[in-house]
């Protein structure tokens, strides 16, 4: 091959690569603007979410969301824990199960939440904890075993509305009748650009997780 034809081929490859990069770039810019400045994330959030069905049950199961090594609960974790306590106070179920492992040598999330519940006046006898499960699937298995040992079949499940579909199916697979009791850190009506970007991130995280659970055969 002569030098000139090699140069021509290189030039074509460069043009092709440049065009592809520009197309990707245009797609990325369009997606960014659609996410930050249109209600697209709000619509996706509502589509992914699960509405609440708050009826009496035998137990309230509050799924984990993370704790810092020094025992500080994350915002989502605290929100879920408080929602579970409110449902308990309303008399919707007598038992309250907190789930969530610790990080490193720190205290387990479930134990930190249980301590909070006791401090807020909930009787220690009605609080259960499960602090080994690291994934939603493990939470369904471990919490399921704890509850089934007590003959419990009907639960109120507390987690984010996006996460609810996946969690609900896993608990149903474990033979529970599940009443969704979702709680959200971000409203699906949020309208500022930063909030919409955060909402889209949560939506994409959940879609990625659902894809993984489907491929792995958990759902």
């Amino acid at each position: 091959m002569s030098d000139s034809s090699f140069d021509t081929m290189q030039g074509r490859n460069r043009m092709g690569w440049t065009r592809i990069c520009r197309l990707f770039g245009l797609a990325a810019v369009v997606i960014f603007f659609a996410t930050a400045f249109t209600p697209l994330p709000n619509l996706l959030s509502r589509w992914l979410g699960t509405p609440a069905r708050l009826n009496p049950a035998e137990a309230i199961v509050v799924l984990g969301a993370g704790v810092q090594p020094d025992g500080v609960l994350g915002d989502t974790s605290l929100r879920r824990a408080l929602h579970g306590m409110v449902l308990h106070r309303k008399g919707l179920a007598s038992l309250l199960l907190f789930s969530g492992p610790g990080r490193g040598e720190g205290p387990a999330e479930a134990e930190v939440r249980a301590e909070l519940a006791r401090t807020l006046g909930i009787s220690p006898e009605v609080i259960l904890t499960e602090s080994e499960a690291g994934t939603t699937r493990e939470e369904a298995v471990n919490s399921g075993a704890l509850l089934q040992a007590r003959g419990i079949r009907r639960i109120l499940l507390v987690t984010d509305s996006h996460h609810m579909v996946r969690a609900q199916r896993l608990f149903q697979h474990a033979d529970f009748e599940v009443l969704p009791a979702p709680t959200d850190e971000l409203s699906s009506r949020i309208s500022d650009p930063e909030g919409r970007l955060q909402l889209m991130r949560r939506v994409l995280n959940e879609l990625l997780a659902r894809l993984y659970y489907r491929v792995a055969g958990y759902l």
Binding site: Q10, R14, T18, I20, C21, R22, L23, F24, G25, L26, A27, A28, V29, F37, P101, G134, T135, S191, D192, P193, R201, L204, N205, L208, A209, Y212
Partner: protein, 102 residues
């Protein structure tokens, strides 16, 4: 209306920069199209880096889960710093290509 505040703000400063570029710095009017094209190229290559980083991260975490007994969260791969670092990778790679004339 408040959701469009940032758009209006950036629109105004962009228009100011355009006028400044033409009148004070003597930049060419046609150059702005090439500049937008370059920006899209940089953004596009950053998107490619982002997808590669995300896929590699997910695979690495799944391998770590299989190899270790401890729990590794998949959400580690979707940290908010990933798009920013991918953008830096994209910009650097694109400038490297341009300066190397390849």
């Amino acid at each position: 209306m408040e959701q469009f505040f940032i758009l209006v703000l950036v629109g105004l400063t962009s228009a100011g920069a355009y006028v400044l570029g033409l009148s004070v710095l003597g930049l060419s009017r046609r150059g702005i199209r090439k500049a937008v094209g370059k920006m899209l190229e940089c953004f596009g290559i950053s998107l490619v880096f982002f997808v590669i980083n995300l896929a590699t991260g997910v695979i690495a975490i799944l391998l770590a889960r299989a190899a270790m007994r401890g729990f590794v969260s998949l959400y580690m791969a979707t940290d908010v710093t990933l798009p920013v670092l991918s953008l830096l990778q994209g910009l650097t790679f694109q400038w490297w290509r341009d300066l190397s004339g390849s």
